[in-house]
């Protein structure tokens, strides 16, 4: 695997839209070509090289390419958009839409990610050592077929609506998720260290595991109590209350597991 290093220079206040930071785009390109890639700072079309010093070497294919971002880029959006293979390591925090539409490969963010990380993801891995903003692993507006595959792991906390319309794959938030985690979820697995209110709202399928107690919506029904269950192919330790829901929906097949012991 070849490594390409991006060292952030001054970052524009109006944000940077950098869809081109992806192993699929970098693969097979020289440093000069990568510096010349298009990014948008507001309405200005600029070069990637205007905002990053580029060094190293890209692989011939996405799978052979590893991108390292040396530092914080909290206003850089769209890192790894639609990526199919390869690796991105960010030694800091990133802006919105990190790993959106990602299909394969791996992104590791050592800091935090802003909202909409992993939106519409269908494969690959996104790992965040800090926190995530709102709409982690969500669907795009209006789309009912949300994240379909791959996995997201957040070590810290997440904002509202984590796993919105989740339709496959796995999202894990080791810390606390704000309200409406797993809203309108259809299938897949959402694991939360703890959850604020309204977990699983309007879910019709899939499983949510919360590793601590939380208030359930009135439209969920306690149906079982299990110990050390296997849920969507993953084993969990402890005793769980099992809730069925969201019974506000027609024929709901969703399950929420609350760890009680």
């Amino acid at each position: 695997m070849k490594e390409l290093v991006l060292r952030p220079l001054e970052q524009p206040a109006c944000g940077l839209s950098a869809e081109s930071i992806s192993c699929d785009v970098f693969a097979g390109k020289s440093v000069e070509e990568i510096e010349a890639l298009e990014v948008y700072s507001g309405n200005r079309r600029r070069r990637l090289g205007d905002f990053f010093s580029v060094s190293g070497e890209a692989g011939d294919t996405p799978g052979e390419t590893r991108i390292v971002i040396e530092g914080d880029v909290p206003r850089t959006k769209w890192i790894g958009r639609g990526m199919s293979a390869g690796e991105i390591l960010v030694k800091g925090s990133t802006g919105m839409y990190t790993g959106a539409w990602m299909r394969g490969g791996r992104i590791l963010v050592q800091g935090s990610v802003d909202s909409f990380a992993g939106m519409m993801m269908s494969g690959g891995e996104l790992e965040v050592q800090g926190d995530a903003g709102d709409y982690l692993g969500c669907a795009y507006r209006g789309e009912w077929r949300g994240m379909r595959g791959g996995s997201i792991l957040v070590h810290g906390n997440a904002g509202t609506e984590a796993g919105h319309c989740l339709s496959g794959g796995r999202v894990t938030v080791m810390g606390r998720a704000e309200s409406f985690a797993g809203v309108r979820m259809r299938s897949g697995l959402l694991v939360l260290g703890s959850a604020e209110s309204r977990v699983g709202a309007q879910m019709t399928g899939g499983s949510i595991v919360v590793l601590s107690r939380t208030e359930m919506l009135p439209s969920f029904e306690l149906v079982d109590r299990v110990s050390s269950p296997e849920i969507e192919g993953v084993s969990f330790e402890g005793v769980f209350e099992v809730y069925a829901g969201d019974l506000a929906e027609r024929n709901p097949k969703g399950r929420v597991y609350l760890k009680v012991e």
């Binding site: 795009y140 507006r141 209006g142 789309e143 009912w144 027609r250």
Partner: protein, 565 residues
């Protein structure tokens, strides 16, 4: 403005021209006998046809925009930035107005009628039509569930109904009478539907049969350019072909007032279903085609299905509810006081689904089993069967049995078992394609200067980059699809607006509407009733209802003196 299109292979079947190499002369927006000193464009080796005419497509108005508003996910498709000529665009099944104009124009279309205009929302429809560039436009005014129409008809006051319909066309700047699930959309005001021609409309002393017959009578007494444009009852229901056949029967005792049909069966595919459950869902295209073949008073448009993700939208509220309850997908409903009840829901036609497969076959069967191409119009009921972007594919299917076979093989077994498409070897020629994409539409609509290239016709011309002499469309169907996707040249009103598939000039087109005169005294009497309805039941004042001409781009009233007194 003068122009000569030189040496193309011209197809103009209305004037008996079938692939002759000839020049088309254009001056002041019209086709002329001859011009001198004009700019010449070489069209040799290319196919030349009149500009395409769209007769039934949901491109503007309340429910189209509700669909846009409901489906941001649809607008991530077909995205393109502003250029020096065009506005930014987006959307697939619910494209933006600008994209609608550009995309039709790129396919060689120069005229388009939006399929349903609810009178109270007419201003909205015209605001959107205003923002659809490149095309001459018109709208079909829905009347099949209109309270005053139903009252007049149930009381047998046919002249009053005529005068009211004429007033409504003028007030809404509409072009023709459209009916959608007659009686059913009113029943939907109570969450109900009508399921047969003889069901009574709740609280109105009338049946769908009486409404349909009444509207045809109104239409012919007014002698309107187009016939009644009917979306019959029971759209999309298993076994609905019997309702459709009964409906077509009703044309027997209606005399046409002009040389055209008395009824357009629109999106016929959705009305040609056999079987008694979704499990034995089958095609009844043969029965419907037979009825059309044996009558000179009927035409149909296909309502073809193409596989993929689309949005359904009709003024058939109960149908959209029913469909959304099958899929569980989001659903919009928009009942309109005293008039109609549009609904919207997304739909995915899947090659793996037995039902979708049969639906796909039915549309093509209809087009291939109706003998005369003069009675068939290519539509997808955009975007109900598919977005209009798919027309080139359908052209290719009509021209090539092999291309149909290839699809059929991929589909669920039911598509072969429950249809006869596989056994039809008819393949359309270029003239037939010309009929079903423009000439038949222009005839049906009574647009005398469209759909052909005779002297005096509008200088709306499409030039496709395909050589009809050397191309065998049955084999080279992919080349056909490519050619029909992007013209070499689209000429609108005598100006080149598209060149090599790119919009080079934006024009705004005219808006056509019908102004049918009736006797003054009769009109006064009817206006009294209208006034009463507005005072009592509408929530806008009568004075604020009619659409002002400022909303129309180059308004053009088609005047008809009906003789109704």
């Amino acid at each position: 403005m003068k122009l000569v299109l030189k040496n193309g292979y011209v197809y103009d079947p209305a004037n008996g021209v079938n692939g002759e190499k000839m020049d088309i002369f254009i001056e002041n927006g019209k086709i002329v006998e001859e011009v001198s000193g004009a700019k010449e464009i070489d069209c040799s080796g290319m196919l030349v046809m009149p500009g395409g005419v769209e007769i039934h497509s949901h491109i503007a108005g309340g429910k189209v925009n509700t669909a846009r508003l409901m489906r941001p996910e649809d607008h991530l498709r077909n995205v393109a930035p502003r250029t020096s000529v065009t506005r930014s665009v987006c959307g697939y099944s619910t494209p933006s107005t600008f994209l609608t104009g550009y995309a039709y124009s790129k396919m060689g279309y120069t005229t388009a009628f939006t399929a349903a205009l609810p009178p109270l929302m007419a201003r909205h429809t015209h605001e959107e039509l205003h923002d659809i560039p490149m095309l001459d436009k018109g709208a079909l005014t829905v009347m099949g569930n209109n309270w005053l129409i139903m009252h007049y008809l149930s009381e047998g006051r046919i002249e009053h109904a005529c005068a009211y319909a004429a007033w409504l066309l003028r007030a809404t700047k509409g072009y023709a009478i459209k009916a959608v699930n007659p009686g059913g959309s009113e029943a939907w005001g109570w969450g109900r539907d009508v399921r047969s021609l003889d069901d009574r409309v709740p609280h109105f002393d009338i049946t769908p049969r009486e409404i349909i017959r009444g509207l045809m009578e109104i239409n012919e007494r007014l002698s309107l350019p187009h016939s009644v444009h009917l979306h019959p009852n029971n759209l999309g229901r298993v076994g609905n072909f019997t309702t459709t056949l009964e409906t077509l029967e009703l044309t027997r005792d209606v005399k046409p007032s002009r040389e055209r049909q008395v009824l357009q069966l629109t999106h016929a595919q959705f009305h040609s279903y056999g079987g008694d459950s979704w499990r034995n869902f089958s095609s009844e295209a043969e029965s419907i085609a037979k009825a059309v073949n044996s009558s000179d008073r009927l035409v149909l448009d296909m309502g073809q299905v193409v596989f993929g993700d689309t949005t359904t939208m009709t003024a058939d509220g109960p149908m959209e509810y029913y469909l959304s309850s099958l899929t569980g997908l989001k659903w919009a409903n928009k009942d309109i006081e005293l008039e109609t009840a549009p609904g919207v829901t997304p739909f995915v036609y899947s090659e793996k689904s037995p039902v979708s497969g049969v639906q796909w076959a039915i549309g093509l069967e209809l087009a291939l089993l109706v003998e005369s191409p003069e009675k068939v119009m290519l539509t997808t009921d955009h975007p109900n069967g598919a977005p209009f972007f798919t027309y080139p594919k359908i052209v290719a299917w009509l021209m090539s049995a092999k291309s149909r076979e290839e699809v059929l093989e991929r589909l669920h077994r039911a598509a072969q078992k429950n249809t006869v498409l596989g056994s039809i070897d008819r393949e359309y020629g270029w003239s037939e394609i010309c009929w079903v994409t423009r000439t038949a539409q222009a005839r049906s609509l009574g647009l005398e200067s469209k759909g052909h290239l005779g002297v005096g016709a509008d200088a709306d011309v499409a030039v496709y980059r395909i050589d009809p002499e050397s191309t065998d469309p049955a084999r080279d169907y992919e080349a056909v699809e490519r050619a029909f996707s992007a013209t070499a040249l689209t000429v609108k009103g005598g100006e080149v607006v598209v060149r090599d598939g790119e919009v080079v000039k934006v024009v705004s087109g005219r808006t056509l509407y019908v102004d049918a005169g009736v006797g003054e005294e009769l009109e006064r009497e009817v206006l009294k009733d209208v006034d009463y309805y507005f005072k009592r039941f509408y929530t806008v004042n009568l004075a604020n209802y009619p659409v002002q001409e400022v909303y129309l781009t180059s308004p053009e009233a088609v005047k008809v003196d009906s003789g109704v007194r």
